[in-house]
Amino acid sequence: MAIIETKDLTFRYEDADSDALCGVTLSIEEGSFTAILGHNGSGKSTFAKHLNAILLPSGGKVYVGGVDTADESRLFDVRKTAGMVFQNPDNQIVATVVEEDVAFACENMGLPQEEIRKRVDECLAAVGMSEYARHAPHLLSGGQKQRVAIAGVLAMRPRCIVMDEPTAMLDPSGRAEVIRAVQQLNRETGMTVILITHHMEEAALADRVIVMKQGKVALDGTPKQVFSQVDRLRELSLAAPQTVQLVHALDPAGTVLSPEALSVEECVGQLMKYLEA
């Protein structure tokens, strides 16, 4: 079942000369992990902001959990269904103690105290921040702050989490931890994940990759289907993962080697084949 559906979605910013989104029709399955790639200005963030009604369509429709986001009386339902994590954690942290920040949304939802305690502990553990529960957020590093921000959204138990470049400010280990936590959530609790990113390696972990360009969907498929198109990606000014590029450079026609080498291991397998052939 689709948790998110957009029908011919168009959007134009005030005073802009052209549409930021031009007729995007997509359906996102409940429980799936979708990555959205694209250049700055491709419309990917604009798209993400439609998924919890931060922006409303100029034309077309967006349905989140079956609810039309343009229906103002259902705004709370839309936001409860799709939680949003942004790029800069500094803009998302409100409290002066980590665990209070994570509890913020739960308190606003009027949950009983024991339930809040339980969720805060669980969510901090999920992002590997339990030992910082009583710390002051401003003393944390950027990566740690972002994990706190993610925990705060998780604590609302949304059905779908939309992340707009959540790892752009993180270092590799921080990034890996966040992505691991997100993957785990997706697999174990069946939470729908929509990840907007510039990192090909992160997108490669998703079930589905959507590449946007100039407000339209340019490519849509499994990571292997999308990333094996080295030349097409280059036309879209995106680079395929290095592993794919390397295999492609050695065998552009794909006669001996499979270009679907997304992991280091798969790539090494193909290279051994190349050296032996």
Partner: protein
């Protein structure tokens, strides 16, 4: 080579005497020479941000000294003030620090505080806006009307215009898309070539560090773990991975090939290098 910046036995402890006491920089010695382009890498919490904030006196050492051109920057107030102009610090997401009414005024803010003549300020603003690719008609606009990528350029031009002796850039490409990264990369190289400024480039990315720098310094747990040329550093790629650093995929592929007995050097970091090396290996069987 002439030394421009030196830290001696530098230690910095946050919140000493409290339960949150943390030594972020631990007895570090480091010297930067005139005109050097240094990549400073380390994962979150490795101490690199704390270290660079000592370079222009924003933080005071708990122990040790910071010297610019051989002079201790904390010996008196004037020296500390001079250090602020000698070392330009570009923080992460510098576009959040824009505040003036127009792009011109924002870029001119630093040079104006330095007490420069109006004509000189004008020259520096225009020249550096050109380096970062900002067209003249943008100069009279409000910086808040610009796109994120353009704001980043304005912020960089603001530091460029101070023409510091040492420029420290903390993750200047963070959050930009691949095309934006390539642009920033180009501006910094162009500025470096033009002025021969010492550049210290802080990044998580081994790839950027290797492409841009002649020297890479790796920090881990508040100490300097490695200091050498990109080739020397990449030869220790397995240690980099252990320190939680982002080693390019092709380097990881070459490490794994090495483990399987293929005679390859892990000091590759681009697809071109890797492909050339593998072709040579297949043709001639020669090690690369």
């Amino acid at each position: 080579m002439n030394e421009v910046l030196r830290v001696e036995n530098l230690t910095h402890t946050y919140s000493p005497g409290t339960p949150f006491e943390k030594t972020a920089v631990d007895h570090v010695d480091f010297t930067a020479h005139r005109g050097e382009f240094i990549g400073l890498i380390g994962h979150t919490g490795s101490g690199k941000s704390t270290l660079i904030q000592h370079f222009n006196g924003l933080l005071t050492p708990t122990q040790g000294r910071v010297l610019i051109n051989g002079e201790d920057i904390h010996q008196n107030k004037d020296m500390t003030r001079a250090a602020r102009f000698a070392v330009g610090l570009v923080f992460q997401y510098p576009e959040y620090q824009l505040f003036e009414e127009t792009v011109f005024k924002d870029v001119a803010f630093g040079p104006k505080n330095m007490g420069l003549e109006k004509a000189e300020i004008d020259r520096r603003v225009r020249e550096n806006c050109r380096i970062v690719g900002l067209p003249d008609d943008v100069l009279e606009k409000s910086p808040f009307e610009l796109s994120g990528g353009q704001k980043r350029r304005v912020a960089l031009a603001g530091i460029f215009a101070m023409e510091p002796e040492v420029m420290v850039l903390d993750e200047p490409m963070a959050g930009l898309d691949p095309a934006g990264c390539a642009d920033v990369f180009r501006f910094i190289s162009e500025y470096h070539q033009k002025h021969g400024t010492t550049i210290i480039f802080v990044t998580h990315s081994m790839e950027y560090a290797a492409q841009m720098s002649q020297r890479i310094v790796v920090m881990d747990h508040g100490k300097i773990l490695m200091d050498g040329t990109p080739a020397q550093i990449f030869a220790r790629a397995d240690e980099l991975l252990a320190a939680g650093l982002d080693v390019p995929q092709v380097t990881q592929v070459f490490l794994e090939l090495g483990r399987r007995g293929i005679p390859v050097d892990p000091a590759v970091y681009t697809v071109e290098q890797a492909a050339a090396c593998l072709r040579a290996l297949k043709e001639g069987g020669a090690a690369c």
